[in-house]
Structures are given as structure tokens and as C-alpha cells.
């Protein structure tokens, strides 16, 4: 696995997020630490903030307070009184910083796949590696073989089934060797059997590649495949479904 950066730790501290339209915070002083190569699943009721948490980790949105640290990158609120140096960065620099972070450290698997329909499967998968500048044909072939989609390489996206498309999306999220893979309802659009197959592949490949995985899902079956299944409720993470044990860092 040449040229790979290993995630030392995903560290989320006192993360809060309040939307302008809602008075109560959707995430409230949330803490989470994920060790390198671990997989974490997050379940919870609709609207509890699962996707918001992923959006904040991916840098799509800015937290109201708290911080998210991934390798050398640290995402904070746009105006954080505690970090004047960051505040002095212009908006475009901050935006560039987050773009760089996404390009170099992150792989994302969307619920609705979001593959480019102007590309075939191969070019779709290769996109992130080419963008990062670590495209390796041999590595991509190997990855596609593991995902059992090599035979689809030249096919246009519109001719692939949902399961095939999601496997392509997983390959795209992994091909540039990110430190962290975020998956938002990766099996949400798939039937039961395909869902099992796709989630098995996702967890297996991440384990083999020692890639940290954070999955948001409604499916208990998928969630239980993770090393650390967690539940989100009232803006905080719990380690049990009964929501009695809040998550705490135990090194």
C-alpha cells in the first residue's frame, strides 16, 4: 500500500451544531475518537443529526462550536474565538483548506451513489485518484477485482444496476487511499440481499486496507458489522441501543 497515509485518529471534541431555523442544537458537545483502521456505525432516528455529523466531518458545513481533527487537518467553526490564527485566514483560504482536506484524506460513499453519468465505471472510479494525483492502474484493477466490478469497467453508468453502482461508488471512495471513509446510508437504495453484499464488501475492503470507516445507517444488520456500533440521540453518542451508556473515550 505505497504512498498511503495512515489515520492516527479521528478526534471530535465538544462538537455542537445549531441551525438558524431551530433553537435546540442538533449536536450538543459531542465527543468521539476513532482509532486508525476501526469502523464505526452510527444509528438513530430520522432527523437526529446523523447526516449532520457526517457533513461536519466532511467539511460540507461548519460546526457552531468544537473541533474535528483528522491527521494534520483540523476543522473548526468559521469564527472561533479560541483560534485567532484560523480566523485570520480569508474565506477563500479556509475553503481551499477544506477542499484540500477532502481531496487528500476523505472518501465518501453517498446513498444515491452520485457517479458521473458522463463517465464509464473505470473513469468514475479513477476520478478521485487522478484528482489527488496518485492514480495507479494496477491498484485500481486490484480494488475493482475485490469489489467484483472489473468486468463493468467500460460500461456506462446508466447501464449498471443499483448494487453495481454502489460498488463503483465504494471503489471511488477508496481508490485514492484516503485516511477516512464516510458512508451515508450506503445501502439505503438497495434490496436486502444486495444491501448485505455491498455492506460486506465495504467493511471487508476497509479492514483489509486498514482504512477507518464511519457509516451512518438505519439498517441494524449493516450497523452491527462495524467494530463500534453507536447510537445518536439528543445530540450525543451512546454505545447501546437503550441509550443508557454515553460514549466515552477509553484508550
Amino acid at each position: 500500500m505505497h504512498g498511503r497515509r495512515i489515520l492516527h485518529m479521528l478526534k471530535i471534541e465538544k462538537l455542537s451544531k445549531t441551525y438558524d431555523t431551530v433553537s435546540t442544537p442538533i449536536l450538543s458537545a459531542l465527543d468521539l475518537v476513532v482509532e486508525s483502521g476501526q469502523s464505526v456505525s452510527i444509528q438513530g432516528a430520522s432527523g437526529c443529526g446523523k447526516s449532520t455529523l457526517l457533513s461536519l466531518i466532511a467539511g460540507f458545513d461548519s460546526p457552531t462550536s468544537g473541533s474535528i481533527a483528522i491527521n494534520d487537518y483540523c476543522l473548526r467553526p468559521v469564527k472561533d474565538p479560541a483560534h485567532e490564527i484560523d480566523n485570520n485566514k480569508s474565506a477563500s483560504l479556509q475553503s481551499k483548506y477544506v477542499d484540500e482536506f477532502r481531496k487528500n484524506e476523505l472518501g465518501i460513499v453517498f446513498q444515491s451513489y452520485n457517479l458521473f453519468d458522463c463517465f464509464n465505471a473505470w473513469d468514475n472510479i479513477a476520478f478521485t485518484a487522478r484528482l489527488k494525483g496518485n492514480y495507479n492502474k494496477h491498484y485500481q484493477t486490484e480494488l475493482m477485482q475485490q469489489l467484483n466490478i472489473l468486468q463493468l469497467a467500460k460500461k456506462p453508468i446508466s447501464q449498471l444496476s443499483g448494487g453495481e453502482q454502489q460498488r463503483c461508488a465504494i471503489a471511488r471512495a477508496l481508490v485514492h487511499k484516503p485516511s477516512l471513509v464516510l458512508a451515508d446510508e450506503p445501502t439505503g437504495n438497495l434490496d436486502e440481499a444486495t444491501s448485505q453484499a455491498v455492506s460486506d464488501i465495504l467493511f471487508d475492503v476497509c479492514r483489509k486496507m486498514n482504512t477507518t470507516l464511519l457509516v451512518v445507517t438505519h439498517s441494524a444488520d449493516v450497523a452491527l458489522k462495524a467494530d463500534n456500533p453507536l447510537w445518536l440521540h439528543a445530540g450525543k453518542l451512546f454505545t447501546d441501543k437503550a441509550l443508557t451508556t454515553p460514549w466515552s473515550h477509553s484508550p
Partner: protein, 890 residues
């Protein structure tokens, strides 16, 4: 809605300009006060007020007294600036210096008011009566209208009150002002010793050109009396009968002459056919572009609505309800958009009117009037036509979409194989080549242009995705964003066919027109450069025999006769195409070197010199299908008295009646020193002229007998001693006899005139391109909305916001470049068709097609500039959002 507004505005503007030109031409062709009879006193006698009174009392109530005198007039500043500063005074002095010589024409307006229309004579009594009423009403209306205006402004005036006066619209356009004064020159001072009269002008076609019409009371003011300047004569709006003339001669105690004036040969200065054709072609082009814009807008609208329509269908709403709903919506769009579009069109036309009017009067001696159209009928017509067109074009997509129950049914677009595209291309091009053979009239040529555009559009629709896919295949994949841009453009190209077509047509037409104009310009310039052999040219009204030349100067006159062509080949020709001009051409060495010829027989020049044949221009050859070696039969040869007879107004007092060209009917021996042989030796280009022309050697004209009669007013001046040519421009002797132009001046003047001719069509062409460009840009912007999810994914994968915007701009520009690449060959082909089909059949001339890369690049660059400008604005505001929950794009 924007598309409907844009299409209506563009179409209405072009239609109004066409209407203005047509109405102007009608106005220009209307009869003037001098279209019946003119009664003047015989030489040595004068007509007085007493004679006038006697004639009217004696029953000749149709007579209107008139007097005329030539004065230098200059434009005055408006009344608002009446208290002049020094600067204004300087401007006024400059204006006086550029005074224009016009005839002040005074008529008895009371007699005009009470004109006895029922006494109108003539074979076509009713028509003649109506025509006469029009002339009189026009004159009366003029005075009433201006009198009211004058009354409202007189009270503010501190100097001499303005006199109500009328001029021909063409004269008004030349003057370019509403107030004129008489310049106090030596001529004027003899008759006007007091305050300089000021004239407030109104327009009427009843007034002869280059005349300022006032009431006779205003004419005889201050020192000008019937004693110092007697009446010029009496006019009758309708021709006087023999009995009436006999009665008149018995009533008036002095000998009189009665001249019957004909309106049929007035110098009406009609708009050239070429310009009209240009306007109509532009109108048709705008209509086609508007059609594609609206079609594209409909397509985009339905595409945006598709998810909701499918949901409605899935919920059980019948497709006919959806279709009716969509049509009602279209009608509402029409009701709102058409008036806005029409208003914009009217506004644009009114803004353009002064420019067009100036162009018309300066170039074509024609009038452009602000079109008088019924607002209500135009509006109703626009709503009906737009709704009908929209309804027809919307029916198919509406039916297809309202029947769709899933996206897949609608998304499925036919994919054309390479073989199919190549076969269709070959078939299309073959169709064009075959159709080209059958083009035999102007209408056919225009239909062929339409076919060419249709075929080229089809080929664009087929080739654009193929071309885009080919570019995708050669794009380096290690540049992922660039690869994405090109690939998604290829995908976009199949969804933007209609917008691409509108843009493609506009760009093709633009390239075609520009290449044609440039070719025409190059041909004209090189032709003129060679043809103008003398160092200077004198344009004069002085008869040839009276021209005084400076010492050492050699003059070569241009003599011109008129004739009528006869022969079997002419049977199918129109009657008015028979007239030919027989012009002289010098056979000296300079003349020989300057002669430009398309094709000729062997030793043609030698035969021409010896009078064994003639050269004919392309206009004559093409119009009558005459070939080299044919012998022409020319009948009714007559002199065209250009030099002395064409003062448009007709200064009756001096005997030059405004009856236009008069032909003396004499034998050929009178005109030629030897009987000419009309054997065609060669065909020469003669750009810019609509006349059929035959060239005979100058030596063959009988200058002794017809020198003055046939003199066209143009004299080529050269010197035996070449060193003396340098002093030519200082030759006062020549300057005093007319306008002397050096060769370079004449060339510059001609090319300036040429450039001005195309200003308007260039403007319309750019407008069409702009409209198509805007529509293209708008549809691309709308389509980019459907592509928004892809852009968000790009952002999610770490592509910066700036890069996404640039990629989007690059995508549009790439599509434009692809369209431009396809438009270039078709644009050149269109230019070829314009030159060798449309020009050949409509104007009977052709010229070499010259392809200048600069012209083509400029056309493409202008179109790209328009697109960039239009797209840059929404792109600047665009903020591609990043969201985990993206919808699948349609």
C-alpha cells in the same frame, strides 16, 4: 417567457424596419405638386398677379400661382438655444459655411385649399382624382400641421418669426434639421436686405425634392416683390386638356407655354433591391432563430417540469388534462410576453430609425419613415402567431411528456451510429449539390439557402455528439476536471440540440454574410483601383462643350446613351429589364490597362478598338443569358440628358422641367461615327450598379452631334505632362465647374459608401447573433441547473469552487467552439451560395469568393464573446452547494 419576449422583440424590430423601408419607398414614389401641367410665360414676357386673377376669374380655378428662387440655406440651432453664446455663434458660422443651395418655392395656398377636384381630367379619372386629392391634402396638411406647431413656439422667439415651410422627406433627411435660414450671401443680399427669414420645416412628399415650399405670401416678403421677382408660372395638379389650354391662351394676354408633366419617370430614388433583399433575408433569419429559441425554451420548460408531470401521471391525472393545462399556460405566457416583446421591438425600431434614415438618404437617395402600423392589430397578430406557433410546436413534446409515466421513457434519446451519421451527411450534401442545379431564380436561391440551413442543422445535430465524443477520447485523463468538462459537454450536446441550432444558424449566417461582404469589398476595391485610371475625375452639370480645361489637361468624357434590347432570348424577361445603357470607354493605353474583364474572346481588345464588337457587363449577360459571341439587337437608341435635366425639383423658371429623363428619337447615325457592331467580345464586372450596360469605344460616339446630350457629367482628367498632375487638386478652373475628385479621394469615397451600405445589415446580423447567443447562454444556464448535482459531487470530492465555475464556463465555451467549428464550413458554403446563386440571380453579378481567416476568426470571437459575457453573470453568482443527499439528475 424570456425566449418569447426575445423572439418577438427581434422579429418585430426587423419587421418594423422592413415596413419603414417599404412605406418610405411608397412615400417616395408619391406624386408631387409638379405632376400635372405648368403654365409659364414665353421668353421675354412675365406673368403677373393680374394675369393670375384674370385666369381664375375666367374659370381656370385649378391654376395655382407659384414663384421660385434659389437661395443658400443653412441649418439653424433649435429655438431652445436662441440666445447664442460665442461658441454657438461659431457653430452657426460653420453651419452657414456649409450652406446648401435649395429652391424656395412659394405657392398660392388659398388656391390649393380650394382646389376643384371634380374637374380632374385624364383617362383614369377616378385614380387621377384620388392621386390629386392626396397631393393637395398632403400640402394642406403640411401647412395646417406646421402652423399649429409654429403658433405654440412663436411667443418664445426673440428674433424673426419662423415661416412655416415644407420639404420632401429626402431633402429633410439631407438637411438633418427642422429649422433653416437663408445664408446672407451676395445672391441673397440682393433680395433680402432685412432680417434673415427663418423656416420651420415639416415634411411632405407633395413638395419636390431640393425645394422649400412656403405660401406665396411668405415668399414675397421684405424686398422680394412681384416687381423684383415675377411669378414663375401657374401649376395645375392635373394635366390641362387641349380645350383648357386653348381657353387659357385666350384669357391671359401674354404668350404662354404649357408643359405637361409626367409623374411616371420621376426620379423617385427607390430603395435598391439588394438592400430590400438583405432586410428580408435578415427578417427570415431572425424568424428562424426565434423559432429555434422558442422551441428550445419549450423543451427546457418541459424538461424542468418532467418530474412533477410524471408524478401527476402516476397519481392518475389523464394526459389530456395535462396537455390542455400546458397549452393554457402557454397562452398565458403569450399574453404576458408578446406585449413586452412588441414594446421592446417598437422601442428598438424607433431607436434605430434615425440611423437607418440617415443611411437610406445618404446611400440610396431613398426615404425611411418611422413605420405607421396599427398597434392593436400588430399586437393581436403577434399574440395569435406566437400562440399558434407555440401550440403547434408544443403539442408533440407536451403530448410525449404528459404521457410519460417514468423518466426512462422520456430520457431515451436515439443514439446515432457513426455509419448512420456519415451516410446521412453524404445524403445531405448530395441533396444540396443536386438542389443547387435546379436553382434558377432569386426565390429558388433563397429557398436553397433555407435548405442549406436545414441540412446543416440536421448535420450539426448528428455530428455534435460524435465530435464531442471524439474530443473526449483524445482528452488526457490525468486531468480529471478537464476530462469531466469535455465528457459532460459531450453529454450536454445531446440535450442542447435546439439551442445549438439557433446559435449555429446565427453564427453560420454571420460568417456567411461577413465572408460575402468581405469578398465583395475586396473585389470592389481591386476593381475600382484598376478601373480608375485617371489621376482625377470631374463631376459636373456643365455641358461638355462648355467645359473649360486648364492648360495641359486632357479630358476623357463618359458618354452614355440609352437603348432597348431585343431578341429571342429576351422573351421571358420582364419588360423593364430591356433597357440598356450604352457607355463609352476610352481605348487609349491607360484605358486598356485599367479594363477589368471576366472573360473575353481572343484579341477582344483589338476588335473592340476597331469597333468590331462590344463588351457587356455581368448584369446584362446574366439577366438575359447572353454569351460571348452573341450579337445583340439594340433598338430605340437615345441620349440620356443627364447633365442638364435632372435637377430633381425642376427649376421651371429656367426651363428644366422635372420630368426626368427625356429621350430624343433620332437615327443611330446621329449618335455614332460608324454603325456599331453589337457582337459580344467579352463580359466585365460592374459592381454596385443595377444597370445593364454595353461598352463601346469612345471614338465610336459622334461627339460633334451628341457630345452634350450624351455626356453623363463625368470627366476623367489627366495631364500630358505627368509632373503637372501634382497640381491637379489646386486647379480652380475645374473646381469652379463641378466637383473635382482625385483618384484616391474617389476610391476612398466609394469604399466609405460601400462600408456604410452594410452598416445596417451588419447591425441586424449582430442583433440576430446576440439574440441567438443569449438564448443559447440561457438554455445552457438552465441545463446547468439539472447538472447541479454533478457539480456538488465535484465539490464533495475536493474540487474548489473556482475550479468548478471555471470548468462550467469552459464547458460552455467548448460547446460554442464545437458549434463554431461546424459553422465555419457551412458559413463559407453559405457565402458561396450568396455570391454565386443569390447575387447572380438577384443582382446579376458575381465576384470571387475570398476567404480571409481574420474575418472568420472575428465572427467566431464575437460570438464567443457574447456567450462568455452572457454566461459570466449567472456563473459569478452561482454557488455550487455540497450536500450528502443529492438527487439523481434527470
Amino acid at each position: 417567457m424570456f425566449a418569447i419576449i426575445l423572439a418577438n422583440a427581434g422579429l418585430i424590430t426587423v419587421l418594423l424596419i422592413n415596413e419603414g423601408a417599404s412605406q418610405g419607398e411608397l412615400v417616395n414614389g408619391q406624386s408631387s405638386l409638379f405632376s400635372g401641367s405648368v403654365v409659364t410665360a414665353s421668353e421675354g414676357y412675365t406673368l403677373t398677379k393680374a394675369h393670375y386673377a384674370k385666369a381664375r376669374i375666367g374659370g381656370a380655378t385649378q391654376l395655382i400661382a407659384f414663384a421660385q428662387k434659389e437661395y443658400p440655406f443653412y441649418c439653424e440651432q433649435s429655438d431652445d438655444n436662441i440666445n447664442r453664446t460665442d461658441t454657438n455663434r461659431a457653430d452657426a458660422d460653420r453651419a452657414k459655411a456649409s450652406a446648401r443651395s435649395l429652391i424656395l418655392l412659394g405657392i398660392d395656398t388659398q388656391a390649393l385649399y380650394s382646389y376643384p377636384f371634380d374637374n380632374t381630367n385624364g383617362e383614369n379619372g377616378r385614380e387621377s382624382r384620388d392621386s390629386t386629392k392626396n397631393i393637395a391634402n398632403s400640402g394642406i396638411g403640411l401647412f395646417n400641421g406646421i402652423a399649429n406647431q409654429t403658433a405654440s413656439t412663436l411667443k418664445y422667439e426673440q428674433v424673426a418669426p419662423a415661416i412655416t415651410a415644407g420639404v420632401h422627406p429626402l431633402t429633410m433627411a439631407k438637411l438633418a434639421c427642422n429649422n433653416v435660414s437663408i445664408a446672407k450671401t451676395d445672391i441673397a443680399a440682393t433680395t433680402l436686405n432685412h432680417a434673415t427669414p427663418r423656416f420651420r420645416l415639416g415634411t411632405s412628399t407633395a413638395v419636390p425634392k431640393d425645394n422649400i415650399l412656403v405660401s406665396i405670401a411668405d415668399f414675397y416678403r421684405q424686398d422680394v416683390t412681384t416687381e423684383t421677382l415675377p411669378l414663375s408660372g401657374f401649376i395645375s395638379l392635373t394635366p390641362l386638356s387641349k380645350e383648357q389650354i386653348k381657353d387659357l391662351k385666350s384669357i391671359i394676354p401674354v404668350p404662354i407655354n404649357v408643359q405637361q408633366l409626367s409623374n411616371s419617370q420621376q426620379d423617385t430614388g427607390s430603395l435598391p433591391d439588394s438592400f430590400k433583399l438583405n432586410l428580408w433575408a435578415m427578417g427570415a433569419l431572425m424568424a428562424v432563430v426565434a423559432l429555434f429559441i422558442v422551441l428550445n425554451a419549450l423543451n427546457l420548460m418541459y424538461r424542468t417540469r418532467l418530474p412533477n408531470i410524471i408524478r401527476l401521471r402516476q397519481l392518475g391525472i389523464a394526459s389530456r388534462y395535462l396537455t390542455i393545462g400546458l397549452l393554457i399556460e402557454l397562452f398565458l405566457y403569450c399574453l404576458v410576453s408578446v406585449p413586452i416583446g412588441c414594446a421592446l421591438g417598437f422601442y428598438a425600431a424607433s431607436m434605430l430609425s434615425p440611423i437607418i434614415s440617415g443611411t437610406f438618404s445618404s446611400l440610396f437617395d431613398a426615404v425611411f419613415v418611422t413605420p405607421n402600423v396599427s398597434l392593436l392589430s400588430t399586437l393581436s397578430l403577434s399574440v395569435c402567431i406566437t400562440f399558434l406557433a407555440l401550440g403547434i410546436f408544443a403539442l408533440l413534446p407536451a403530448k410525449q411528456l404528459s404521457g410519460a409515466l417514468s423518466i426512462n421513457n422520456v430520457k431515451a434519446a436515439p443514439a446515432f451510429t457513426k455509419r448512420f451519421v456519415i451516410c446521412t451527411t453524404l445524403a445531405g450534401l448530395s441533396l444540396l449539390l443536386v438542389a443547387q442545379w435546379f436553382v434558377s431564380s432569386t426565390l429558388h436561391a433563397l429557398l436553397f439557402v433555407a435548405l442549406l440551413l436545414l441540412v446543416s442543422c440536421t448535420l450539426v445535430i448528428l455530428w455534435l455528439p460524435l465530435l464531442a465524443n471524439w474530443v473526449v477520447s483524445i482528452t488526457p485523463t490525468h486531468k480529471p476536471v478537464l476530462h469531466f468538462i469535455i465528457a459532460s459537454t459531450a453529454q450536454l450536446s445531446s440535450r442542447t440540440k435546439l439551442a445549438v441550432c439557433a446559435f449555429f444558424i446565427a453564427l453560420t449566417a454571420n460568417i456567411g454574410m461577413n465572408v460575402m461582404t468581405d469578398s465583395f469589398r475586396s473585389a470592389t476595391e481591386s476593381w475600382l483601383t484598376q478601373r480608375l485610371y485617371a489621376p482625377a475625375y470631374l463631376y459636373t452639370d456643365v455641358p461638355l462643350s462648355e467645359i473649360v480645361l486648364p492648360e495641359g489637361a486632357v479630358a476623357t468624357p463618359l458618354l452614355r446613351l440609352q437603348g432597348k434590347l431585343a431578341g429571342n432570348k429576351l422573351e421571358s424577361s420582364k419588360a423593364n429589364a430591356f433597357a440598356v445603357s450604352i457607355s463609352s470607354y476610352p481605348t487609349h493605353n491607360e484605358g486598356k490597362l485599367a479594363f477589368v474583364v471576366d472573360s473575353e474572346v481572343q484579341n477582344a481588345w483589338t476588335k473592340f478598338e476597331k469597333g468590331k464588337g462590344v463588351y457587356i457587363n455581368q448584369q446584362l449577360a446574366f439577366a438575359h443569358d447572353i454569351e460571348i459571341g452573341d450579337t445583340l439587337t439594340i433598338n430605340s437608341i437615345a441620349a440620356e440628358n443627364v447633365a442638364s435635366g435632372n435637377v430633381a425639383s425642376g427649376n421651371i423658371a429656367s426651363g428644366n422641367v422635372a420630368s426626368g429623363n427625356t429621350y430624343s428619337k433620332m437615327t443611330n447615325n446621329h449618335y455614332f461615327s460608324s454603325t456599331p457592331s453589337f457582337n459580344v467580345l467579352g463580359i466585365y464586372p460592374d459592381y454596385g450598379s443595377m444597370r445593364s450596360q454595353i461598352l463601346l469605344p469612345l471614338s465610336q460616339f459622334n461627339r460633334a452631334t451628341i457630345g452634350d446630350e450624351a455626356f453623363s457629367g463625368v470627366l476623367a482628367i489627366s495631364y500630358n505632362n505627368k509632373e503637372m498632375s501634382a497640381y491637379l487638386s489646386n486647379t480652380d478652373i475645374l473646381d469652379a465647374q463641378g466637383n473635382l475628385f482625385t483618384r484616391d479621394e474617389l476610391l476612398k469615397l466609394s469604399m466609405d459608401t460601400f462600408d456604410k451600405t452594410f452598416i445596417l445589415t451588419d447591425g441586424l446580423n449582430i442583433t440576430t447573433l446576440l439574440v441567438a447567443g443569449i438564448a443559447f447562454a440561457v438554455s445552457l444556464s438552465i441545463l446547468s441547473l439539472s447538472n447541479a448535482s454533478s457539480l456538488s459531487v465535484l465539490r464533495a470530492l475536493g474540487v474548489s469552487k473556482t475550479r468548478v465555475k471555471l470548468s462550467l464556463l469552459g464547458q460552455y465555451i467548448f460547446l460554442c467552439i464545437l458549434t463554431a467549428l461546424l459553422a465555419v464550413p457551412f458559413g463559407i458554403y453559405l457565402a458561396y451560395v450568396f455570391i454565386f446563386q443569390v447575387n447572380r440571380l438577384a443582382f446579376n453579378w458575381v465576384y470571387p469568393l475570398s476567404i480571409d481567416a481574420g474575418v472568420i476568426i472575428t465572427s467566431v470571437a464575437v460570438s464567443l464573446g457574447i456567450i462568455c459575457l452572457v454566461i459570466a453573470l449567472p456563473l459569478g453568482r452561482m454557488k455550487p452547494k455540497v450536500d450528502l443527499r443529492q438527487d439523481t439528475p434527470l
